[in-house]
Symmetry: C2
Subunit: 677 residues, 2 copies
C-alpha cells in the first residue's frame, strides 16, 4: 500500500519548500481560469435548452433570444469582474468570499459564504467532468463508438480519479500538467469562432439541417409560450458561465510576487477571454440554427458545421481540447476546496484533520473528500450536465452577493477610518506641544491595506492623510461593489425563483445544514478545550490500582499477560474466567494450581454462552466496590504473522475493547503475543 | 442497535433448552424436503430450455423428449434415495457426505465433500429465490404489474433478508413458519397435475397457442440438431431436481426419537412426492405443447391453460404456493450450511467463530455468511435461474458420489469386522478353558451401528454372530451403494462435460480452492496450539519496564496519562513530544517546568510534518538500547460523549496503535479521558 501511494503521489516534500511553490501568471491562468473559461462549452447550450420550451410551443424564432441573453450575462460578468478586482487589492493575502464576509459582515455570514463555496466546488467538479465526457461522446456520434454514451458515468469517475491523483502530487506539478491543454482550448475555440464567422459571411445559407427528432429540453421544463419567466429561466441557466470567477481572489497567495497585481491582471484577461468565447458561441449557434440535442452538444454541432468536409481534423481538435479543458477545469476546485476547508478547520468549524498539509505540501484530506462527493453526485445524476445545472448557481451567486456586500461594508469602514485619521492629524498639528493627545485613532481600523498599515504606525501629518484620501477612492469603490452586490443578489433571487423546484431546493436546504454543522463542530472544540484546560489542577496525583486479566485458558499468551499484570501491580491482580463448560472449567482450576503463582482466579457463570457480558458485569461490580481505584484490564492479544489470520482470532478481544472504552476509570492494556507462522 | 436485534431475533435462549429443539416428521418434511420438492417448479423447464436448441434447428418434435428424460432422472432419484436410506441407518447421529466421506475415505475426501456441499447450499439459496421470484413475475404477465420483472433482483434480496431473520430466530420457530406453505404447495401442485390430466383426457385439443416470439434457450446453447450430447445436456440440466435429497441425512439429529427411522420414512415420502410432481409436470408440458419463454415460467403456462377461464383463482393459488415453497426452500440451506460449517470449524478447518451457537441456539455467523454470499450470487447473475443452473449440480453430484463411495467402503469394513468376530467367537467357543484368548477383535471396528455396539462389549457366541450376519445384509448394502456411487459419478461426468464452458468451470475451480483454504486454516490453528503450549515453561518471570507517554501538548488528558504512567513504573517514564513548530515547542518546554513533576521530556524533530513516524523511530531506538525490557506506550485517548465527535479526534492515536501493534515487546495502554458534551 505504502509503495503504491509513493508511486502515484511521489515522495514527501520538506516543510521548508513551502514558500517556493508559487505560480506564474501564465500557469495561474491555466489553473484558476480553466473553470470559468470551460463553462463556455456548456453555457450557450443551457440557455438554448430552456428556449426549447417556447420552440416546442410553436414559437420558431425563440432560439434567437440566445444572443441578447448572452450579452446580458456578459454585462453582469463585467460588473462582477470589476468588483472582484477591488477585492484582490483590498485583500492581498487572499480575499475569498469566506474571509471578506467574515471580516465585514460577521462570522455567520462568513460561514454561509463558506458553505456556499464548498457546495459550489463540489458541483464544479461534477458539472465540468460531466460536460467534458459529453464533449467526447458527442464526437463519437456517427462513428462506431456511438455506444460510448452509455458508459459515460464510468468515464466521469475515471477522470475524477485522474485529477485527484494529479492534485495529490502537489500544486505546481499540477499546474505544469494543465497549462498546455488550457491554452490549446483557448486557441482552438477562438479559431472556431473566427473561422465560423468568416464562413458564415462567405456562405450565409450554411446551417444545421432542421431535425426535431431528438430535441432536448431543460430539466423540469414543458412546452410553453415565451413569457418573462421563461426568459429569466434561460438567463439563470446561462449564468453558469460566471462560475469560477471567484477562484482567483481565493488563491492570491499562490501567485508569484507582487501577488495582488498579478492576480488582478490574470482576472481581467480571463474575463475578456470568457466574454469573447461565450458571446461568440451564442452568435454562431444563432447563425447556424443549432438546437440542443440528446446525443450531441451544441458546441459539437457548431464545430461540425464549420469544419466538416474540408477541415474535419480540426473538428476533432476542438472536441478534444474542449473535453480536456472541462475535465481539467475540475482542477479549479481541487485547488480551492481543500484551501477553504483548511481555513474553516483552522477556525475550528471543520475537523482539524482538514487543516493539515499532507506530506506533498497539499491538503490531502480535502482533496479526497472532494473527489468522493463529486463522484457520488455524478453517479446520482447519471453524469447529465443539464440535470446538475439547477443545483449549480445558487451557491455561486450567494457567495458573490455576500462577498460584494462585505466589500461595501469594508469601504464604508475605510471612509470612517480616514475621517478619524484626519481628526487625529489635526489634533496632533494643533496640539504639538501636548504629546499625550497624540494617541492613534481608537480601536483597530478596518480600512484598505495601506490605510491599516499607516494608521498602525503613527498619526500621520495632515498632508499625508490628504494624500491617502486622494488615492483611496473609497467612495467610488463602495459604489462599484454596491452595484455588484445588488446585481448578483437580483440574479440569485431570479435563480432560486426559476430553478427551485428543478433542483435548487437541494442546495437551499443543504447550505443551512452545513452552517449548522460548522457551528456544532465549533461548539464541540471550544467545549473540549475548556474541559481539557489545566486551570485549577495541582501536581500529579498518585493512583490506586486493580488489575483484571480475562483468560480463555492457560497458554503462553495468557502467561505473558499475567507476567505483565504482576509487574504493574504485584499484589492486586485477579484472573477472570468465564465458565462455558463445567468439565473444562474443572480442568482449568487444576492447572491453575501450577501456573497461577498465587494470582486469584475468579470463575463467572454465563447462562447465555456470552463471553463479554459476564466479564463486563464483573468489572462493574469491582468498580462499585472500589469507586476511587483505577481498574486496568490486561488483555492478551494474538498478533498473527499474516493479515488474514486475524479473521481466525481476537474477535472476543475486539468486542471487549469496544465495550470497555465507555466505562469511566477503566484502562485497557493490550499485551501482544506474536505468532510466528 | 441492540434493541433492533432483539425485536427481529427475539430474546436469548438458555443453553439448557438445547435438547428440546427437535422436529416432528411433518415439520421436518416441510423444512428439509422443501428444497427437493420445490425443484419441480423449475426442473422441467431446465430440460425444455436445452431442447429449444433442437426445436430452433427445425426439429419440431424435440420438446417431446422431455418425458423420457424426466423418467430417466426419476430412476436415478430412486437409486439415490435407496442409497441414502442406508446411510441414515448406518449414521444415526448425522451422516452427511462430509462425515461419511471423512470416516471412510479419509480427511481429504471429506473436505472435498464439505466444500462441494457449502458451494451447493449457497447455490440452493440463489436458485430457489430466483425461481420463486420468477413465479411471482410470471403471474404478473398480462396485468398492469408486468414491469415487476425489471425489479426482480430487489425482490430476491428482500426474500433472502426475510429468511435470514426467520432463521436467526431459531430452528423450531422457523419450522412452524414454513410448514403451512410447504403443504399448501404439495396440495396445489398435485391438484394441478390431477386436474390437468383430467382436462386433457376430456379435451385432447387443449394446448398453448403456438408462438415463437420470446422463446428462451438455455445459457450458452445455440440451435443444433438433436444428437446425444444435446440430450445429455438436457438430462444434466434436469438433474437439478435431485438437489436437496441429502439434506435429511445431514440433519438426522434434528428429528424426534427414533431419529433414524423418522428420517428414513420422511426421505421415502419425499422421493415419492418428488417423482410424482416432477414427471407429472413434464407430461403436462408435453401434452399442452408448452415451450420455455422469456417472461413466463413453464409451470405458470401449464397452470394458465389448465385453470384459466373457469378456475382462474386457482391459477393464482398455484403460483403463490410455488413462489412460497421456492422462497422457503432456501431454508433448507439455512439449516444445513451453518450446521456443516460448524462441523468443519470444530475440526479447525474453518474459523472458530462458526462453531459457536449464538444466543438463540442457532449458528448465527454461518447464517449471515450464507445470506451475504447467496445475495451476491443473485445480484451477479441478475436473478436469472437459467444462468445459475450450470453452476448448480457439480457440487451436488460430487458430494453424492463421495458419500456413496464412502458407504461402499463402510460396508466392506463391516463385512471384515463380522469375519473377525466369527473368528473370535469360534476361538472363544473352542478355547473356553483359556480366558486370555477371549480378547475382542483387534482395532476399532467401523461396521454398522449395531455391529460396533456389540463388538465393543464382548466377543459374542457363534449363534449371536450368525444372527448379526443375517440381519446385517452388508453384501446387499454394498451393492446398492456401489450402484448409487457409479450412477452419480457418471452423471457428474456428464454434467461437467456438458456444462463446463457454460459456468460449471467456476465450481470446478472453486472447490479445490476451498479445500486449500480448509487445509491452510487447519495448519494455522495446529501451529498456534503448538506455539501456545505451556510445555517447557517455568514459573511467571519478572518484567523490566520502560514507559513512554506521547504528548500533543499539556492538557487534562495528558495529565491523566502521566499520572497513570507514574503509577505503573514510577522512575522509568519518558514523555515524548513531536516538534512541528519551534515557537509552540518553546512554550511547551516552559509549561513543562510546572507540570512535568520530574518526568523526562524528549522533543523529537519531524521534517515531513508526520506525527507517527518520529515517535515510532524513537520507540525503535529505545528498544535497541534496552532489548530485554518491555516498553509500555501510554496513550491519552479522548472518549467523546457522542459518536460523531470521534470524527473530530483520535485519528493520530488510532494510527499509532495500528503501527505499534506489530512491534515485539511493546505494550499499548489507553488511558481514556471522558469528554462531557
Amino acid at each position: 500500500m505504502a509503495s503504491l501511494k509513493r508511486l502515484l503521489v511521489g515522495s514527501p516534500i520538506r516543510t521548508a519548500r513551502l514558500a517556493h511553490e508559487r505560480l506564474t501568471k501564465k500557469t495561474a491562468l491555466a489553473i484558476f481560469a480553466s473553470d470559468a473559461l470551460s463553462s463556455t462549452a456548456y453555457a450557450t447550450e443551457q440557455i438554448l435548452l430552456v428556449l426549447t420550451a417556447a420552440y416546442l410551443a410553436g414559437q420558431a424564432s425563440a432560439f434567437g433570444r440566445v444572443v441578447p441573453i448572452s450579452i446580458a450575462i456578459s454585462l453582469l460578468l463585467v460588473v462582477v469582474t470589476i468588483s472582484y478586482r477591488q477585492t484582490i487589492f483590498a485583500y492581498p493575502s487572499g480575499g475569498g468570499a469566506f474571509i471578506v464576509a467574515k471580516d465585514n459582515l460577521g462570522t455567520l455570514a462568513g460561514l454561509v459564504a463558506g458553505a456556499s463555496l464548498l457546495v459550489d466546488y463540489i458541483l464544479t467538479v461534477s458539472v465540468s467532468i460531466a460536460a467534458g465526457v459529453e464533449a467526447i461522446t458527442s464526437a463519437m456520434v456517427g462513428t462506431r463508438f456511438a455506444g460510448l454514451h452509455e458508459h459515460r458515468i464510468w468515464l466521469c469517475l475515471f477522470f475524477i480519479a485522474f485529477i485527484t491523483v494529479a492534485n495529490l502530487r502537489g500544486v505546481r506539478e499540477a499546474g505544469a500538467l494543465f497549462a498546455a491543454p488550457s491554452y490549446a482550448f483557448i486557441f482552438s475555440f477562438l479559431c472556431l469562432i473566427g473561422y465560423g464567422l468568416i464562413r458564415y459571411y462567405l456562405n450565409p445559407g450554411l446551417a444545421v439541417a432542421p431535425n426535431d427528432a431528438d430535441l432536448k429540453i431543460a430539466e423540469g421544463y414543458h412546452p410553453q409560450s415565451l413569457h418573462l419567466f421563461l426568459l429569466l429561466g434561460a438567463f439563470a441557466n446561462g449564468c453558469a458561465a460566471l462560475t469560477g470567477i471567484e477562484a482567483i481572489s481565493n488563491g492570491i497567495q499562490a501567485f508569484k510576487q507582487p501577488e495582488s497585481k498579478n492576480a488582478a491582471t490574470t482576472l481581467s484577461w480571463m474575463a475578456l477571454l470568457l466574454i469573447t468565447m461565450f458571446v461568440g458561441a451564442s452568435v454562431l449557434a444563432y447563425f447556424f440554427n443549432v438546437h440542443p440535442r440528446e446525443h450531441e452538444t451544441v458546441i459539437s454541432q457548431i464545430a461540425r458545421v464549420v469544419f466538416t468536409g474540408h477541415l474535419t481534423w480540426f473538428y476533432y481538435a476542438v472536441q478534444a481540447t474542449t473535453a480536456a479543458i472541462l475535465v481539467l477545469a475540475a482542477n479549479t476546485s481541487f485547488a480551492g476546496f481543500p484551501r477553504l476547508a483548511s481555513l474553516l478547520a483552522r477556525d475550528r468549524f471543520l475537523p482539524r484533520q482538514l487543516a493539515n498539509l499532507g506530506d506533498r505540501l497539499v491538503f490531502s484530506n480535502g482533496i479526497i473528500i472532494l473527489a468522493v462527493l463529486s463522484g457520488v453526485l455524478v453517479w446520482a445524476f447519471s453524469g447529465d450536465t443539464s440535470r446538475l445545472i439547477p443545483l449549480y448557481a445558487v451557491g455561486v451567486f450567494l457567495s458573490f452577493t455576500l462577498s460584494q456586500a462585505g466589500m461595501v461594508v469594508h469601504w464604508w469602514r475605510e471612509g470612517k477610518a480616514l475621517r478619524a485619521m484626519r481628526v487625529a492629524a489635526a489634533n496632533s498639528a494643533s496640539a504639538a506641544e501636548n504629546p499625550s493627545s497624540m494617541a492613534a485613532p481608537a480601536g483597530r481600523l478596518s480600512g484598505s491595506f495601506e490605510v491599516r498599515r499607516l494608521s498602525d504606525q503613527q498619526p500621520g501629518s495632515l498632508a499625508e492623510v490628504a494624500r491617502l484620501e486622494r488615492t483611496s477612492h473609497w467612495r467610488k469603490s463602495l459604489v462599484i461593489n454596491g452595484i455588484g452586490a445588488i446585481a448578483t443578489c437580483v440574479v440569485l433571487i431570479v435563480f432560486v425563483a426559476t430553478k427551485f423546484i428543478h433542483g435548487a431546493w437541494v442546495v437551499v436546504v443543504l447550505i443551512p445544514l452545513l452552517v449548522l454543522m460548522f457551528l456544532k463542530i465549533h461548539r464541540h472544540y471550544v467545549q473540549v478545550a475548556h474541559q481539557l484546560s489545566t486551570e485549577g489542577l495541582g501536581q500529579l496525583r498518585p493512583i490506586h490500582h486493580q488489575v483484571i486479566v480475562p483468560i480463555s485458558g492457560i497458554h503462553r499468551g495468557v502467561i505473558a499477560a499475567l507476567e505483565y499484570a504482576k509487574s504493574i501491580a504485584p499484589h492486586h491482580v485477579t484472573a477472570v474466567y468465564v465458565n462455558l463448560d463445567d468439565e473444562v472449567t474443572r480442568k482449568l482450576r487444576e492447572k491453575w494450581q501450577q501456573w497461577g503463582s498465587g494470582v486469584n482466579l475468579v470463575v463467572v457463570a454465563s447462562p447465555y454462552r456470552s463471553l463479554a457480558r459476564p466479564l463486563l458485569n464483573y468489572v462493574d461490580r469491582m468498580k462499585r466496590s472500589a469507586p476511587n481505584e483505577v481498574i486496568t484490564i490486561v488483555l492478551p492479544e494474538f498478533v498473527p504473522a499474516k493479515w488474514w489470520q486475524n479473521l481466525l482470532h481476537n474477535q472476543n478481544t475486539l468486542f471487549l475493547k469496544g465495550a470497555l472504552l465507555f466505562k469511566k476509570g477503566v484502562v485497557v492494556t493490550n499485551v501482544p503475543y506474536h505468532l510466528e507462522h
